[in-house]
């Protein structure tokens, strides 16, 4: 497909800790078009953040490494770049918004200078022009430009996240990776920040990879969704496929069954039993099989392949020819 702007092919990432190998991401494949928002959904340890760091090439040196796969942004093969080449792209082509606004800003540098730094690194402009741009960016995210000389600790959590966003948008990157951008925020502030991200994204026609565990955030922000479990994508499709579709991966059903809903009084939730498998010792066959309510014999032996119907893909034996005729 030629309209793909960003794609990850068969990406696998490992962490090496002492003598153990943690298989954090196991062969995920994703793609998105320019201007789209793709939601990457999963619970703690599903490998969402690791995938994002792999795209930024910011995996911890020595312990984290990409085992296989390729990542393409535009027509650039990210994984084949040298470190200096990659450095030029970070902040310019690909930028990231981090989860915890309390720790992701440097406490001893003013917020203005932290935003300015991105411009210094990527734009050849006069100091005055850059300063003006910083003021413009701050106003853009709803912070008065006079506060540029203040330090992060003088801002609330929500305000700091706005600063992080301003920093990410400074060079108008083509791909924005937002790693749980609102998880650390209160609901009313989350709503403000989400709305702002949506507006800015549309305005700048940026593509966004939104990492979250919150299906509500996904429903209100994303065009497409990929659901991750234990380092793999188990289901993928448009928001309509995921939220309104008839057939789902059992894990997706479990996720939806676990959340209490505002608009209807539910008596009992239907959670998934058990917990995430140990990433140093993944089960045979389907990773979800030990917790799956509809686990079959084949699930314990063979990893399922994607079954595609239109834009909707599910990796489950229930719907494959090998698994069940019941699909």
């Amino acid at each position: 497909m030629s309209d793909k702007f960003f794609s990850i092919e068969n990406l696998s990432v490992e962490y090496i800790a002492d003598d153990e190998v943690v298989k954090a991401v196991n062969g995920i494949t994703l793609s998105m078009k320019r201007g789209e928002t793709l939601g990457l959904v999963g619970e703690t340890g599903a490998g969402k953040t690791t995938s994002a760091l792999a795209v930024m090439r910011l995996l911890p040196p020595r312990t984290g490494r990409v085992v296989s796969g390729s990542i393409t942004v535009g027509d650039i093969d990210i994984l084949s770049l040298s470190e200096p080449e990659m450095r030029k792209l970070r902040g310019e082509l690909v930028a990231m918004i981090y989860q915890d606004p309390m720790t992701s800003l440097n406490p001893v540098i003013t917020v203005g200078d932290q935003i300015l730094e991105v411009l210094e690194l990527h734009k050849r402009q006069s100091k005055a022009a850059m300063k003006a741009r910083v003021a413009e960016l701050l106003e853009l995210v709803g912070i008065s430009a006079e506060r540029a000389d203040e330090y992060p600790h003088q801002f609330s959590g929500g305000m700091r996240q706005r600063v992080v966003i301003a920093m990410a948008l400074a060079c108008e990157p083509e791909l924005l990776i937002a790693d749980e951008p609102t998880t650390a925020l209160d609901v009313t502030i989350q709503a403000q920040v989400l709305q702002m991200i949506r507006e800015l994204k549309t305005k700048l026609n940026t593509s966004m990879l939104l990492i979250t565990h919150d299906l509500g955030v996904v429903a209100h922000t994303c065009d497409n969704v990929a659901i991750m479990y234990a380092g793999e994508i188990v289901e993928q499709g448009t928001v309509a496929d995921i939220f309104n579709g008839k057939r789902h991966h059992p894990y997706t059903n479990g996720l939806f069954g676990s959340i209490p809903r505002l608009n209807k009084q539910s008596k009992r939730l239907n959670p998934i039993e058990g917990m995430l498998p140990d990433p140093t010792n993944l089960p045979e066959g389907c990773n979800f099989s030990p917790r799956c309510p509809s686990c079959m014999e084949i699930c314990k032996i063979k990893s399922p392949r994607f079954v595609q119907s239109g834009t909707h893909r599910i990796a489950c034996h229930l719907y494959s020819s090998e698994g069940g005729a019941n699909a």
């Binding site: 009313t188 209100h220 809903r261 505002l262 608009n263 009084q265 959670p271």
Partner: protein, 318 residues
């Protein structure tokens, strides 16, 4: 049974800070009936955790009363407080920080019983620990495991077992599921609800998550900057929210539903709870804010039976 199990009367807790008095809990009047759950919602810094702690005398109140079965527990002496601990327990937010890493699962669960001294026979105590573990769904083989060997969900189950160990009547649940993943969160919520049905427990459930609170509560209190701004049944709160802040909270929640549209988003952020000005504390973010909101003290008035609101627009004198 109409008499409430626990009731607060003008309960206050102020903290001294270099910049003035921090109004963490300001004139709270609540009551919870036996066997019911009161949900307390609010954003960070609204004083909901302090409220729970004042109720259990983990933090000493600045003023007011906490009536438990009609007795003011704030007047209790040390001995009476210790006895009270057997009736009132707490489940904590952080499943990692709330368990002593140097104690095994069985030691943690048995600790409250040991302190109270109700069961002295060690065999009997072991039996009790096993019963508690199976009650909360912990496998017996984990008795001598250390907390750091377990995941968040199991740790939180230990926290629940510890709270149940002394057969309490009332439990303050302080954000017991907010540190957990959704699938685990649902397991713990189900557990808490089952335990309530089974044993007739009374909960105060503190959370920032409105969907969770709706799911588990009979009544809901909404807190903002140390004050309770709205109190009514869960049903009523979601059907007919009155306080502008409650409405804003509800509007801000993204539902996992494509047909759901989010409401109007309020501007601004929480102001400081330190030495708050007179008048309505929400005034600066409120679109209905009128001059008198900034001046007059507010009262907590009953708009319809059982539905209390602290807002000028619904107070009797307008």
């Amino acid at each position: 049974m109409n008499r409430p199990l626990i009731q607060t009367v003008n309960l206050k807790k102020y903290f001294n800070t270099p910049r003035g008095k921090l109004h963490a809990v300001d004139n709270i009047n609540l009551s919870i009936n036996r066997g019911q759950t009161l949900g307390v919602v609010g954003e960070s810094g609204c004083g909901k955790s302090t409220l729970g702690r004042v109720l259990l005398r983990l933090v000493e109140a600045t003023g007011g009363q906490v009536l438990y079965n009609g007795e003011d527990i704030l007047q209790y002496n040390a001995k009476q407080v210790k006895k009270m601990r057997a009736k009132m327990q707490m489940i904590f937010q952080d499943p990692y920080a709330s368990l002593n890493p140097r104690m095994t699962v069985s030691e943690i669960i048995a600790e409250p019983i040991r302190i109270l001294g109700t069961i002295t026979d060690s065999r009997e105590l072991n039996r009790k620990v096993f019963r508690l573990m199976s009650t909360v769904g912990l496998a017996g083989r984990l008795v001598n495991a250390y907390p750091h060997e377990l995941d968040g969900g199991r740790r939180q189950r230990i926290g629940v077992a510890r709270a149940l160990a002394v057969d309490p009547e009332f439990i303050v649940c302080d954000e017991p599921v907010s540190a957990l993943d959704v699938s685990i969160q649902a397991q713990i919520l189900n557990l808490l609800m089952d335990l309530q049905d089974e044993m007739g427990l009374t909960y105060m459930f503190i959370t920032h998550d409105l969907s969770v609170v709706r799911h588990i509560s009979n009544n809901i209190a909404v807190m903002y900057l140390g004050q309770c701004v709205e109190l009514c049944s869960a049903e009523e709160l979601f059907r007919n929210p009155l306080h502008p802040y409650t409405r804003a909270l509800l509007a801000a929640i993204p539902e996992p539903d494509l047909n759901h549209r989010m409401g109007e988003i309020i501007k601004g952020e929480l102001t400081s709870p330190i030495a708050p000005p007179a008048g309505c504390r929400f005034a600066n973010r409120c679109k209905h804010c009128a001059d008198e909101c900034l001046r007059q003290e507010l009262s907590f008035s009953e708009v319809t039976p059982g539905h209390f609101v602290m807002c000028k627009r619904y107070s009797d004198d307008i």
